[in-house]
Structures are given as structure tokens and as C-alpha cells.
């Protein structure tokens, strides 16, 4: 049976609906208060964190670590409770915590406004006017919290499976209707969705352990897990904690392998099929080596027309383990493509550049949702996708996907074809840099062999006669020199591999 997420705002009747539904279904009930209590036990001052995040956006960078811990505790609490049996969860945006888990029913509750106002007045002892202002402020704060913590708009109805409008439907009737919906086959757990939840739980537990251990508590770590393999990335300046990580996580339940990668930044590589002998791998490896980056792989399998009847077009991403993202109940044997994917990953591991991997199947929205918002990527490399399409369509659809990602991710997105421009000095590039260098030399020679006339133009008698010429000269030459020299300087530094 699914995990039912009831999402609503305070005083909106959502909690009563969730409790009623849990009673009718015989499910356990968990609310945000339980998550907050657990977080406080783990030393996360949720109240302060909320105030800081909602009211003080400038401290985001410093609070990001606490935010990640809070998310880990929330995920851990929900997954553990769900592992004990069926569950109804009431909160603000709990459904965002389990991306890739398909057996969740996400319900948004729209409150009955008059009742909500009266409930708020009764509980807070405020006048009607003040209660209205109070509710409006709460709603805005919650929106800001969800926007920051989950990077999503809680009012985006595409994120829900059902919307219950209590203006039109009674609370008990809504609960009865939801009982039937929860029983639909769309929301039944599958081995894949269970495994996805296990991965999330594993990842959350790893993060909590690292947060609670004093040796790793202050480190900025990126935690990923896939197929029981936990990958931890840490910054080069935190090299001293590297040996502590395996000690902290040595008996982590469910972890069959632990990989620690030192990385200053991250590169995300998205492609439909990976081959360990492909030129792109060595190019990305080289780029990662220069940048000191970890490379995360996403094997993306775009949705075919009308495939996968059980899929929900706008739902959270199907982030699956290494079985290829299939949604049926049959565990696949390892296909050649899957085998090549694993070999590619192993090669990255061997090079010390692995930043984890995942397989995503579905629409570009799912792919986007699978990209972790808390990880900063210096570059997103989009390889060949839509392989079953004819070459022209493949190119067009690939370009559209690249534009889609570039418009939504805060990272530059390039194709594998453009990678060589980042690395190699082909004939065209050498010619371009040589031309820039020649132009620079000519410019500098002209400036320093004609100092007298130039200075006369910039501040002498000619300037006094025609003062508008100097701004024109300056506005033309300064950006030209900066642009040309910037090109040459960056190329030189690239040559000595200092980027």
C-alpha cells in the first residue's frame, strides 16, 4: 500500500483529514511535529533554522549544512516508519522527500477559508483582521521554506496526484474517497520503488551519521547512494577527514560499498548509453582531473510514446537503482548497456573521480527532478540521448533537452561534441588563439610606440579640442584588450592545466 502524503497549511483541516484517513485505512499516522521532534533530538534547531531560512535568506550558504541534515532526518523518520507498515503522513511538503519512490499518494488539501480563519482565531485569540494577517504571513513563510528547502513551489499542482478542495467536499467524504484512491494499483509498491526508498534511507542514514560524528560534523560533504554503494565527496581542503569517513560509516546498515572522492566541484554527465571505451569518457575524465571534480553519471532513458502504463507524467522522477529503471516487478538480468554503464562507472572509480550514478527513465521533468538541487555542478555534459529516433530527430530532441536543462539548472550545459573545445587545442582553436595573440601584440605595439599621440588624444591638446574622442578610444580598446588577453591567458593556463 502507498505512503499517503497529506499536504496542507496550518489550520486548514489537513491534519484532521490525515488522521481520519489513517483511522479508516488502519495505517499509522506521522506528522511534521514528529519529524521536528526527531530533528531536535539530533541537535538540529528546526525553529531557528526556519526563522533563519524564511526571514534571513542571506545566511543560506551557512545554513545549507543544517538544511541537509534536517532533510536527512525527515527522510529517515518517514522511511523508517513506512518500513514498519503503511503510513499516512501530514505535513507541508513531505512528498518532496521521496523522489523516485512511486508508491506514494500525494494529496494537496485546499482549506475551507472561513473555517480556517475561525480555527486560527480560536487557537491564537486574535481578532479577525489580525488573524487574517497572521494566516497570510504563515502561508508566505511556508512557501518560502518549501521553496528553499525543496527548491519547489508547493502551490504547483502538478506535484500532486490529487487535490481535495474542502470548500466543496466534506472532510469525512474526502477521507472516504481517498481510501479508494489509495487502493488503486498505480500506488502499489514495486520491488523497484521499495529499493528506491531503501536507497533514500541509506543516504539519509549516512548523512545523519556523518553529521553526528564530531570528526565529520563540520565538513561539507556530498552524499549519494545507488545500489547500496554510498559515495561521499569531500573538499580537498578537508583531506584530513578522509580517513574518518570509512570509520564513521563502517557498519552502516545496507551499505555494501563505500566510495570517498575528493572533489572541489562536480560534473554531471547525462547520456542514454555509456561506453567505457568512448572518447567522451576520457575527455570528461581529463576535464575532471584538471578541475578536481567528481563526475556523476545519469543514465537517462527518455520516455517512448505511450510506454509504461503505470507511469505518471508529472510525478517525481523515477530514480532507480542499477536495474535500469524498469517499473515492472521482474528483476532484469544485466543487459550489455547496463554492463557498459557499470564499467564506465568502475573506470571513474578507478580514476578516483566517481561522484555516484543513477538511472532515470521518463520525461525531461523527471530527469530535472533527479538532479540534486543541493549539489553545485560546474558543468553539465549532455551526451547522446533519444537513440531510438532518426538522426535528425535525435539531434533536434537532444538540443531541446539541452536548452530545457540549461534554462532550469544553474550550471552551463554543453554537449559531448563541445567537450573537446574545453580540452583540446584543435587547429581552429590554435588559429583563434594565435590570431588573438597577434592582435594583442599589434595593439600593445601600437600603444607603446605611439605614446605621445595617444596621450595627446587622451589628455593633451587634442583632448582639449575634441574631448569626446578619448571616451570612444577607451570604450573600444579596453574591452578589446581584456577580451583578447582573457582568451589567451585562459588558454595558457589551460595548457599548464591550472583551471
Amino acid at each position: 500500500m502507498p505512503i499517503v502524503f497529506i499536504c496542507s497549511v496550518p489550520f486548514g483541516g489537513g491534519k484532521r483529514l490525515a488522521q481520519s484517513l489513517a483511522a479508516k485505512l488502519g495505517y499509522a499516522f506521522l506528522s511534521r511535529e514528529d519529524v521536528v521532534a526527531k530533528a531536535n533530538e539530533c541537535g538540529i534547531p528546526v525553529g531557528k533554522l526556519e526563522v533563519a531560512m524564511v526571514k534571513k535568506p542571506a545566511v543560506r550558504e551557512r545554513l545549507a549544512r543544517l538544511q541537509q541534515r534536517y532533510l536527512a532526518v525527515a527522510t529517515d523518520t518517514i522511511c523508517e516508519k513506512a518500513a514498519e507498515g503503511d503510513l499516512v503522513y501530514y505535513g507541508r511538503a513531505g512528498h518532496f522527500l521521496l523522489p523516485g519512490v512511486s508508491h506514494v499518494l500525494r494529496v494537496r488539501v485546499i482549506p475551507e477559508q472561513t473555517q480556517r480563519l475561525e480555527a486560527a482565531m480560536a487557537q491564537t485569540k486574535l481578532s479577525r483582521e489580525k488573524a487574517e494577517v497572521f494566516l497570510s504571513a504563515i502561508d508566505e513563510d511556508i512557501r518560502a521554506w518549501v521553496r528553499f528547502v525543496h527548491g519547489a513551489d508547493m502551490d504547483d499542482l502538478k506535484r500532486y496526484d490529487f487535490v481535495v478542495n474542502l470548500e466543496n467536499v466534506g472532510l469525512e467524504n474526502a477521507a472516504t474517497a481517498l481510501c479508494g484512491i489509495a487502493d488503486l494499483p498505480d500506488f502499489k509498491p514495486t520491488p523497484v520503488s521499495r529499493r528506491a526508498m531503501e536507497e533514500l534511507l541509506l543516504q539519509a542514514r549516512a548523512r545523519i551519521r556523518l553529521a553526528l560524528d564530531e570528526r565529520t560534523a563540520d565538513a561539507d560533504l556530498t552524499v549519494r547512494s545507488s545500489d547500496g554503494v554510498v559515495t561521499i565527496s569531500y573538499m580537498p581542503r578537508q583531506g584530513s577527514i578522509a580517513s574518518a569517513i570509512p570509520e564513521v560509516l563502517h557498519d552502516l546498515p545496507g551499505c555494501r560499498e563505500l566510495r570517498c572522492t575528493v572533489a572541489s566541484t562536480n560534473i554531471l554527465w547525462i547520456q542514454e548509453e555509456f561506453r567505457p571505451d568512448a572518447g567522451a569518457l576520457s575527455q570528461i575524465n581529463e576535464l575532471a582531473r584538471r578541475w578536481g571534480a567528481a563526475v556523476e553519471l545519469i543514465r537517462y532513458r527518455p520516455e517512448g510514446d505511450g510506454e509504461t502504463p503505470a507511469s505518471r507524467p508529472e510525478s517525481a522522477p523515477r530514480v532507480t537503482a542499477a536495474d535500469g529503471g524498469v517499473e515492472d516487478d521482474v528483476v532484469e538480468t544485466v543487459s550489455p548497456a547496463e554492463s557498459a554503464f557499470r564499467e564506465t562507472l568502475e573506470q571513474l572509480v578507478h580514476e578516483g573521480r566517481s561522484g555516484g550514478s543513477q538511472t532515470v527513465a521518463g520525461s525531461p521533468d523527471r530527469l530535472l527532478a533527479a538532479v540534486r538541487p543541493d549539489i553545485s555542478y560546474s558543468l553539465v555534459v549532455l551526451g547522446e540521448v533519444f537513440l531510438d529516433k532518426p538522426p535528425a530527430a535525435r539531434m533536434r530532441m537532444g538540443r531541446d533537452l539541452g536548452n530545457f536543462l540549461a534554462g532550469r539548472l544553474k550550471s552551463p550545459v554543453i554537449g559531448t561534441a563541445e567537450l573537446s573545445a574545453k580540452l583540446r587545442f584543435g587547429a581552429g582553436q590554435v588559429a583563434g588563439i594565435a590570431a588573438a595573440l597577434v592582435a594583442l601584440v599589434v595593439l600593445y605595439a601600437l600603444i607603446f610606440t605611439h605614446q605621445g599621440p595617444l596621450l595627446d588624444l587622451l589628455g593633451g591638446a587634442s583632448h582639449r579640442a575634441r574631448p569626446w574622442v578619448a571616451p570612444l578610444v577607451v570604450a573600444l580598446i579596453a574591452p578589446l584588450v581584456a577580451g583578447l588577453y582573457g582568451l589567451v591567458a585562459s588558454a595558457l593556463l589551460r595548457l599548464i592545466r591550472l583551471e
Binding site: L49, A58, E61
Partner: protein, 363 residues
Amino acid sequence: MPPVFSEIFVPITWATGILVVLLGFIGGVLSGFIGSGGAFFMTPGMMNLGVSGVVSVGSNITHKFGKALVGARKHAQMGNVDKRLAMYLLATALVGIRLAVWINSLLFAKGDSHGAGKGAASDLYISAIFIGVLTFVAISMLRDALRPATEGQGPSRAITDFLGRFALKPIVKFPVSDVEVSLWVLLPVGLATGYLAGTIGVGGFVGVPAMIYIFGVPTAVAAGTELYLAIFMGAFGAINYAFEGYVDLRLTCLLFLGSLVGVYIGAYGVKVVSERYIRLSTGYIILICVLSRAIAVPVYLGELGWVRFDPVWNLWLNRGSTILLFAAGIGGAGAVLLQVARAHIERQRIQTTLLVRRPAVES
């Protein structure tokens, strides 16, 4: 020597040229390291080499224009530029720059065009603003770096919260930064940023903290937006100073030679050095730069005839100021380079040492 040299511009020998390139390099390294423009080092450095204050500022702001043009693109790619916020700040920043250019030009022209006092009033004014602003910046940085780190504690938000209480309309929303700011707060901040950018070339030292502490903008967005703003402020400042005849393109081009390489190295240093180290080292470097400028102040006072002392002291004070400035710059940039080199070597060593552990699996 053409008259224009002696009146406004200085002759550039090989030695001067190399020193200006070095200034650019050190300024670039420090700028990449701390994310500011590096003018706090380059402007006084040029003044120490005999360039008048107003030409130092004019040439440096032109250099900043070109550099920002190159750097802002990367920030924009990372989504760290709030263009709407930059445009609001720019409205009054341009007024601030024009005001700064006007004051600087007026003070420069006030000196005796044939005597030693030419430019002394402008130099004194620039030095005084420099000392005042950068002392405050350096002490704030050091205080921030030396205070005990507390989990979850960020920069003080007292000013934001205080101003937020008034909610002076009209309030402007900035979706990229996710903040709302009163127009009456935006305008003076833009004015101050423009004025300081135009006066000493360090608008970022006001603009970035103001965006963080007063508006509540995330740090990365504040830095990216400042760089974006610097394109327009730099262009406007460069055009204004050029119109007044105070831009020496030779100096600008020499600064580029050093700074555009230095800035890459400095930016690389940020990846391998802790934030506390960055704040501490930058704070000390700026303090020494301030001290160096303070040592040069009696020279300008003497040139203006406000104090009298043996002219031989001018030479010693200038030398002392120059040595102190270069010592601070070379020491600071050297420390960054050392860290970069160490990290580079360390990186080569640890690239293949991925830690792989296979703990016992519990089902």
C-alpha cells in the same frame, strides 16, 4: 618630455612598466582570491609609482570595466546574477560615479598647474577616503574571521531586520535573489557604491556587503551581481574619466597583462584554502595597504603647504609607503601562490587514491 606627461601622465620606463604589470598580477591574485576588484592594491600602488591619484583611479576603473566584462559571463552562467537588482542599483550608482568624477577632477584642477601642488589635493582626498573605507572593511573582515564559528550563525542581519520593520513603499521584489527591498534603501546604496567605485575604485567593498547585510541577498548572487554591475559602472566611470582626460590606457593595458592571469590563480586558490584563512589574510593585507597609504599622506599635506618638513622626507615617506605596499602585496599573493602550488601537488598525489571500503552488509 611632452608636456602632457608632466601635467597628467607619467613616462613609463621598462622598470615602471614591469612594476605596473606586477601590481596588476598581485591585484589580480588578491582579487580572484577574495572576489573583489583588486583596486584596493592597484590604485595606491600606481600612486606610489608617481601616477597622480585621479589618473590611477581613472585607469583602474577602465581596467575594471574590461575585467568585469570577461568575468561576469561565468557568474551569469551559474545563475548568480540578479540583473533586475543590478539595474535598480545602477540608476543611482551612475549619479555616484559622476559625482566622484566631478569632485576628483575639480580637486585635481585646483592645484597649481606648474607647481608641486598639482594633483596633491586630489591625492589627499583619494587617500583619505581610501584609508577611511578600507580600515572599516579590514577590521570588519578580521573581526568576522576571528570570532568563534557557531553552527548556523551567519552574517549579522540586524540592519536588514531593522529596515524591514519600516517597509517603506515602494517595495521592489527581486525574484532571483528572492528578496524584497524598499526603493528608498536601494537608491542610497547604489549612490554610495557608485561614489566609492568612482572615487577609489572599490565599489564592491560597499556594494557586496550592502547586498548581503542590508538587502539579504545570498552571497554568491551578491558577488555575481556586483561583477555585472561593475561592467556598467566601470564603463560609465571609464568614459567619464576619459572625457575629463584622466585615463592612461597604457597603464590599463599593463594592468591587464598581470591581472587577467592573477585572477585565475587567485580564484583557484579559493578552492583550496579555507574561508577563514581567506578573510584573515585579506584583512591583514588591506590593513597594511591602508598603513602604506597613511604613510604617504604627509607628502600630500606638504605639497599643499599645510605642513612643513624637510623635502628629503618626501622621498623616504614615498619609499616607505611603496615598500610596505609591495611587501603586503607580494606577501599576500605569495601566500596564495604557495597554497595553490601545494594544493596542485597534493591534487596530483591524491587523484588516484580513492578510498574504497567494503563494510559488512547488514540486510
